[in-house]
Assembly symmetry: C2
Homo-oligomer: 558 residues x 2
């Protein structure tokens, strides 16, 4: 009964016998390239691989025949070797002692018949290893070591020493390993679609077809497309390692704050029966003999949890948007951080709770992930340090304050625009700059948006119905959260739906509306985009860099 | 820019003007009932509601006309009232003092013109409130209070006192509230599809059409279907409140353990380009101009994260299964808890890590959620306390030990069955009972499953290729986790695929297989079903009770 994982038995239609294994994908080759050319390249790669392997086997055999003094010190890991504990680079000290490490081969080169070098890599950290001929180390072992395929994973035993001069190409420059043993753990193919060390340099902003292929120093330029096509290699870079830690940190800090507040972790369905949330932006799913849809947000369900007396709930789950937006900041699937909460007297209780949440997440990121942030800034220095309010409380302005700040700066919205439109993306960015200059913060909140630009379930401002009890959160002038007090009175809710042109009797709304007919406490909440928080916090140029395996209208792989 | 939440503006096709609001759904009525009957019922409900409202308004108006001495003490919340802090039932002490609470009306009745009672409810906790005529409380106020619609949310101010005799129908029996003010926060409809207090009794196991509608004491029996159709009301029961806390706890404890172990929280795509995971059990999605699929597990992606040097990763995310299984323990969407981890020398390093994870989760549930567990056991006492191993370490047996235990008990598998089949569900349950009797634990692990019953990526046992380095975790004889050491060598992986009848050159496998061609460290992992952990830990009769809004082949709402 292995049904928590993948099914075990293949279907009959899948049981046809397979051909030879495919060679690795070529880097940057157009995906539209002819199959024939691809097949030929595969055959060629296969032949090269076979030849390389045959040569290696021959060399090993020859070595053994020649009674290689080092024959047990390299090659396949002997059974007797697998009991040594291994050390991590980060635990190295300047004390001269023998260590065993498991690491990637970042680079391998033979200097002479008696000397070879490896650059070893662990999660982006690099250290140099050197092997020199001296009993029992043989020339065959040096040849083997210097000829290792880049990206292979090896187990190396050696002596940690201080090098005569610092190794400038390594991240650990003041130490090197003098190799005594080197065994293969996992061999990489000779040909890789891209080199991890080339991907360590940030992708070009320019990605046109006629963009240069090498940089001013002659090093290959790896485009964003190549990186994402070969994301497993790209994840191995120091920068990607650091970004994935920040993503992990955002989710963890969100849940930590919510749990501490007494919130309940919920899992609402992503498969829903009706496209109540907005027509054409919803993915359609074949659900047995009928149609289903993918939830665009947990909005209706988290409100139903509140109506179910859960009082304070949060969810961390994928959000699906079938928007055909091909921009630097849109994904069709992203990680949503949602919360919903009752309040006693005023929705500002929840707003303050959410402001404190963001201040907690962003300040704790700085505290707990300082090393990762510094690493990422080496590749993406442009945006600079993320500025948080000095007093530990979020800056909150009203929407109309934003209008006024923009007007001061020469951007004047007409009376109609103020109440019926929202800021454009360009205006938001400009406002972000104005607020940074004036208040010295990259994080701020706008409250009281016009009712006309908010969804039907938003509570109007009881004092001025042109506005609403709703708020957006911004980082560096871009929106990362939207939230509001929700209407909890059924009559008010139905009237709001009608005023927005929605039909409360439409199929799919019934369960949602019943939740309010059966009594529901006043509540407010919000929905955050994890990937955008990561992107804007770090000043990344593209949200795809803040997603493990990004999805957009063009991309459904890897 | 409210794009973290729902879209704001309706599509033109949705803008038709709506009719009157629908009445609440009827309880237990067959979903196949004629539309006409439904419409008539709705009309009737609507008329009744309108009549009730009119009557109430008239009563209030009359009260005011009669110069009601209590007119500011009940009805709509006056603006000036909203500044009193409210108290929770759980904070009540025996000290006689005035409190303000916000709570549901669980029941309301007029005893006489001078006396009425409310049963007030907060997340399943109940306390009695009493109102008696005495200056300034008027007869009109008593009539209003005793006539409140059940399930309405009210704000009550009153004096906490010790009742003369304990209130046996309340959960807080030694206190009652003497009402001074009662205001409406959210009014429930007069007619509810089911009563929360009826749903407090567990659903019948028997759900046939001719099952009795009332129990031996004449109280209505609320079937599982009615509960799930009206899940928002069902969530308000003390039992559902407790179950949702346990679900929340499992997710929180899983992430707590993983984060403490240095694991990175990942979000892998649920929208995938190819149905590599097993043909007909995959949901198909319309992805712009092509087809996509919903991931059946994060298996291939979490392995790709390991190949991407992430070393230790975990995910908490929905898992989708298009299996047409209509059983008590299958869902088409459930919360998956997945982890994947490299190891140094032996996959048992990861297995022990996972065993300790489960012991941590289950023992901490007992410690942190004792009150909730006790509440749930009142409704579902049959399975009894969940037994954990006394020494704090998981019991681990081999698959063949299980075969031997079953044989001792008279269940003998043939030689062929032992290596080519897995235990049936009945055999698993029997084995669970045998192990409980012999080892006094409801949680245990079976290791070394036959290779024939495991997925292609499973590592065969190097000492006996009929078996594999794979394991299942069981609670009360039912599987809650499946895991294994994975093959990390590309040649071995392709050979395993072929031996299982899969074609490594099939579209969709390329990115996964490239991850191994580019070098991948040895690793193992597992996937847990959150809902099943909750179900078996608590001994619930149906997994739907352990899901907020369950999805099965028949159910796509609410």
């Amino acid at each position: 009964m292995a049904d928590s994982e993948l099914p075990t038995r293949p279907k009959p239609e899948e049981t046809q016998e397979a051909g030879a294994p495919a060679a690795p994908a070529e880097g940057d080759s157009k995906s539209a390239s002819k199959n024939a050319a691809k097949k030929a390249a595969k055959e060629k790669a296969k032949a090269e691989k076979a030849a390389a392997r045959a040569a290696q086997e021959k060399a090993q055999a020859a070595a053994q025949e020649a009674n290689d003094t080092a024959k047990d010190l390299y090659g396949q890991l002997p059974e007797t070797e697998d009991v040594n504990p291994t050390t991590r680079f980060s635990d190295f000290t300047e004390e001269e002692k023998e260590v065993t490490v498991v690491a990637r081969v970042d680079n391998a080169r033979v200097q002479s018949a008696k000397l070879a070098f490896l650059m070893l890599r662990q999660q982006g950290q690099k250290i140099q290893a050197v092997i020199a001929a001296a009993e029992p180390i043989s020339r065959q072992m040096i040849k083997y070591t210097g000829g290792l395929n880049v990206n292979s994973i090896v187990q190396v035993t050696g002596l940690i020493k201080k090098p005569e001069i610092p190794i400038s190409s390594a991240t650990i420059q003041n130490l090197e390993i003098h190799i005594r043993k080197v065994y293969m753990i996992s061999e990489a193919a000779q040909m890789l679609p891209m080199q991890v060390k080339d991907a360590e340099r940030p992708p070009p902003v320019e990605t046109a077809d006629d963009a240069p292929q090498v940089d001013s120093e002659g090093a290959p330029i790896v485009t964003l497309k190549t990186r994402l096509d070969n994301r497993v290699l790209d994840l191995q870079t120091e920068t990607s390692q650091a970004i994935t830690w920040i993503s992990s940190g955002v989710a963890q800090l969100f849940s930590e704050y919510m749990v501490k507040s007494g919130s309940r972790w919920i899992f609402t369905p992503k498969l829903v029966g009706a496209a109540t949330e907005g027509g054409s932006n919803v993915f359609e799913v074949k659900y047995f003999k009928r149609n289903g849809y993918l939830a665009q947000s947990p909005q209706l369900y988290k409100q139903m949890c509140i109506a179910g007396d859960m009082e304070n709930v949060f969810e961390i789950a994928p959000v699906f948007r079938a928007e055909d937006s091909n921009t630097h900041r849109h994904l069709t699937e992203f990680a949503g951080l949602d919360f919903e909460k009752t309040f006693e007297h005023h929705y500002h209780e929840v707003l303050e709770f959410a402001e404190d949440l963001l201040v907690f997440i962003l300040s704790q990121l700085k505290e707990r992930y300082a090393a990762q942030i510094a690493t990422i800034q080496k590749s993406y220095p442009k945006a600079g340090d993320f500025k948080l309010p000095k007093n530990g409380k979020a800056l909150r302005l009203n929407y109309m304050d934003g209008v006024a700040l923009l007007k001061e700066a020469g951007v004047d919205m007409s009376e109609q625009e103020r109440f019926e439109n929202d800021f454009t993306t360009a205006m938001e960015k400009q406002l972000g700059q104005i607020i940074r200059d004036k208040y010295d913060t990259d994080f701020y909140v706008l409250d009281k948006f016009p009712m006309a630009v908010r969804p039907f379930y938003t509570k109007a401002d009881p004092k001025d119905s042109r506005f609403s009890n709703s708020y957006d959160f911004f980082m560096r002038g871009e929106e990362i959260m939207s939230g509001a007090q929700r209407i909890h009175n059924i009559d008010e809710l139905e009237a709001s739906m009608r005023s927005k042109g929605l039909d409360p009797t439409q199929e799919g709304f019934e369960d949602y509306l019943n939740a309010f007919r059966q009594g529901c406490p006043p509540h407010a909440g919000g929905g955050l985009g994890l990937n955008r928080i990561v992107m804007f916090f770090l000043g990344l140029p593209n949200v795809r860099l803040a997603s493990l395996f990004p999805r957009d209208p063009q991309r459904l792989r890897p």
